[in-house]
């Protein structure tokens, strides 16, 4: 629901009147407003997150460790299947490659865009439920997780769900190794620096493909 609302508020009108990527700024502005509102309503301290599955033990088999992993894999596999085997998934890919061409072929691009935001909102909510036990419910979490998500996506290759998973794993490993060998003060600088290096060498990411456009 919120995914759809953000499309209506921050994207639809801007995309209709401008060909530029101004919607990136408007969604960023909306997310900042929402974050501030959360801080005002619920406070700036993290709040506890309930168990998704009832559990009365703790340890290595705690759901807070395996739930996010399983869900991430399920979501990645599900998205791949959705893109490959469903008509709406194929329309999503068509729109991401060239929305004008898709519209010319009769695709209801506005509706597809709304659907894509709804899907994004659903996946975000599921991820929140899976990770909430580890991260707690914190108003400022979006920025930290969002940055990590972008890096993982860029490493894995934009458009590849499996790539995003692998990218996330690489980022996590690099961050942990950096913290271990050099200290956590430098973990972000070194991890992101190495990622930039990787992207310079392979700009399309590990699983991305170079798009050739016929002219």
């Amino acid at each position: 629901m919120f995914g759809w609302l953000s499309e209506v508020i921050a994207v639809r009108r801007i995309v209709a009147v401008s060909d530029e990527h101004l919607w990136v700024l408007s969604t960023l502005a909306l997310s900042t407003m929402v974050q501030e509102a959360m801080a005002i309503w619920w406070g700036t301290d993290p709040t506890p997150f309930p168990r998704v599955i009832p559990q009365d033990f703790a340890g290595a088999f705690d759901q807070k460790f395996w739930l996010p992993l399983i869900l991430a894999i399920l979501m990645a596999v599900g998205l791949e299947q959705f893109y490959r085997h469903s008509m709406i998934g194929k329309l999503f890919i068509a729109m991401s490659e060239d929305s004008f061409a898709a519209r010319a072929r009769g695709v209801a691009t506005d509706r597809m865009r709304s659907l894509s935001y709804m899907l994004a909102g659903t996946l975000g909510a599921l991820s929140g439920f899976a990770a909430g036990q580890l991260t707690f419910a914190d108003f400022a979490l979006g920025t930290a997780l969002g940055l990590s998500g972008f890096i993982a996506l860029a490493v894995g290759g934009i458009g590849s769900s499996v790539g995003a998973l692998v990218g996330g794993a690489i980022l996590g490993m690099m961050t942990s190794l950096t913290a271990h060998y050099f200290g956590a003060e430098y973990q972000k600088t070194i991890a992101i620096g190495l990622l930039i290096l990787l992207l310079v060498v392979r700009p399309q990411g590990l699983f991305g493909t170079t798009q050739v456009r016929q002219v």
Partner: protein, 499 residues
């Protein structure tokens, strides 16, 4: 005929009138100044990141001023508060400091109340030659040569660390200390400060970890500390989520090593994030003498009187803890003491007065300022408290560390009965071995008669034999029930002040 000429002939009527007006106004000026209220500038971030603590401080400040005004004010003048909300934004704090010292013509500035905001305001307030009561704990905020009118109205961060380290080494008798801090500037500075403080006890940390406060799990760091042989963990972070993850990770590892750390660890907010509240048992945070209750559960008289007087409005601010509102109260108390002694609002006279008062006894604690030290707060005002022992009045019982010495017990019989931790049956002159206590004690205290194990208590006197029995039963897997009871009751043991 008299030679005396009328004044009108000498000065002229207009000059006389002007002179009379001038004389009258000159005579009344001191009277007007006497009636003018004392203007206290007050900057607190009552909105934004630190809002809950700042709102409690704001309440404490206003109540302290209201109490003084009720008694007739200071030097016979009422006190007026000119308050600005910096919203935890240093740039706003700077603008408000400028406005207050230059436009609002305040007599003293109290706040900002966190170090990040206070640091950039120092030069402004010092340049305007206004008295400044600084509410941040970072060491760099106080420098009597650079900022001669700046006085701190709480403890410095180094004092927390010094007292915390002393507690671990001298009270808990721990020597293998692991430091876990977050990677913020504060966390890294505190880590270095702890390391220096340990060096004064000829100790080095056995393990040090600087961790991203957003890291979702710190089990890895904790296991490394365990492998390094740590017997106590000290954490320095003010991120509640990070601190809670650390306490959770320790609880989930069933590693009941004490955690000693920053006052954040005492916040109820941390307890809410714990998987089990019992994980909070063996956790000690830096608190204050003004939070320590007596045997009747009463807070120190000054604190209790203040809370009783304002009991109708205090409720929303109790969650932030007593130190929050008492800290702001201290700012008012300190200024009042200096002003009363100086008898004048001139900041340099108040400064000299503050430096010459032997002790300023605020409910927050004792302050002693000298010309070379404007920190004031005394180390003995800081006390470590057990996180899970907070009472409804916001106070804590004093931490009682009882050591069961091998072959001897240092508890008096009265102590045993009063705390309820030790049954008189137990304490019949026999003494426990430390190993026996560690392995079995919880089971013994809790159900000594009901489960028909009275004979085991008699065995307690035969410490080594029981220890051997316990080890054998554990090896054979027979002690599961005992261990379960021990696990479930370990929290109760610590609440009763026994390690």
């Amino acid at each position: 005929m008299s030679n005396i000429r009328p004044l009108t002939a000498v000065l002229g009527r207009r000059q006389l009138v002007a002179g009379a007006v001038g004389l009258a106004s000159g005579l009344t000026m001191p009277a007007i100044a006497q009636n003018k209220p004392i203007r206290m500038g007050w900057i607190a971030a009552v909105s934004g990141m630190f809002a809950s603590n700042a709102q409690a401080q704001d309440w404490g400040f206003r109540m302290a001023v209201a109490d003084l005004n009720e008694q007739g004010g200071l030097l016979g003048r009422k006190i007026e508060i000119i308050m600005r909300d910096s919203a935890a934004d240093p740039s706003k704090a700077v603008s408000f400091a400028k406005e207050l010292v230059y436009n609002e013509n305040i007599d003293v500035l109290c706040g900002p109340i966190n170090s990040g905001e206070a640091l950039p305001t120092l030069g402004i307030v010092s340049g305007a030659k206004k008295l400044h009561l600084i509410g941040g704990s970072v060491e760099e905020l106080i420098n009597p040569i650079k900022y001669p009118l700046g006085f701190r109205n709480l403890n410095a961060n180094g004092q927390w660390i010094k007292v915390g380290v002393k507690f671990m080494v001298e009270d808990l008798k721990k020597t293998r200390i692991a430091i876990i801090n977050d990677n913020t500037g504060y966390g890294v500075l505190s880590r270095d400060s702890v390391t220096r403080s340990l060096a004064t006890h000829n100790l080095k940390p056995v393990y040090t970890a600087t961790v991203d406060p957003n890291k979702p799990d710190v089990t890895d760091e904790l296991l490394k500390a365990k492998e390094a042989g740590a017997d106590v963990i000290t954490e320095w972070s003010n991120a509640t989520g990070f601190v809670a993850r650390l306490v959770n990770a320790r609880g989930e590892q069933n590693w009941n090593v004490p955690i000693v750390g920053h006052p954040t660890i005492l916040q109820e907010q941390v307890a809410k994030l714990l998987t089990k509240r019992s994980y909070w048992d063996n956790v000690y945070g830096v608190g204050y003498q003004h939070e320590i209750v007596d045997a009747q559960g009463k807070l120190p008289p000054g604190v209790q009187a203040f809370m009783d007087k304002h009991k109708d409005t205090i409720a929303p601010y109790m969650a932030a803890g007593l130190p929050a509102f008492l800290q702001a109260h201290a700012a008012v108390t300190i200024y009042a003491a200096g002003l009363t002694k100086a008898g004048d609002t001139d900041p340099f006279k108040v400064k000299e007065a503050l430096e010459s008062i032997p002790v300023i006894d605020a409910p927050y604690g004792k302050f002693i300022y000298t010309p070379t030290d404007h920190n004031g707060f005394q180390d003995d005002g800081i006390k470590l408290v057990n996180a899970n022992a907070q009472l409804p009045n916001g106070g804590y019982p004093p931490v009682k560390i009882l050591t069961i010495k091998p072959g001897g017990c240092n508890l008096a019989a009265g102590d045993c009965q009063r705390t309820g931790a030790w049954r008189p049956l137990w304490h019949d002159g026999t003494c426990l071995q430390r190993d026996v206590f560690d392995l079995k004690s919880a089971e013994f205290w809790h159900r000594p008669v009901r489960n028909g194990r009275r004979h085991l208590h008699r065995l307690a006197g035969a410490g080594p034999a029981l220890a051997a029995l316990a080890w054998v039963s554990r090896l054979l897997g027979l002690g599961r029930g005992v261990r379960l009871a021990q696990r479930s009751d370990r929290g109760a043991a610590h609440r009763r002040g026994i390690r």
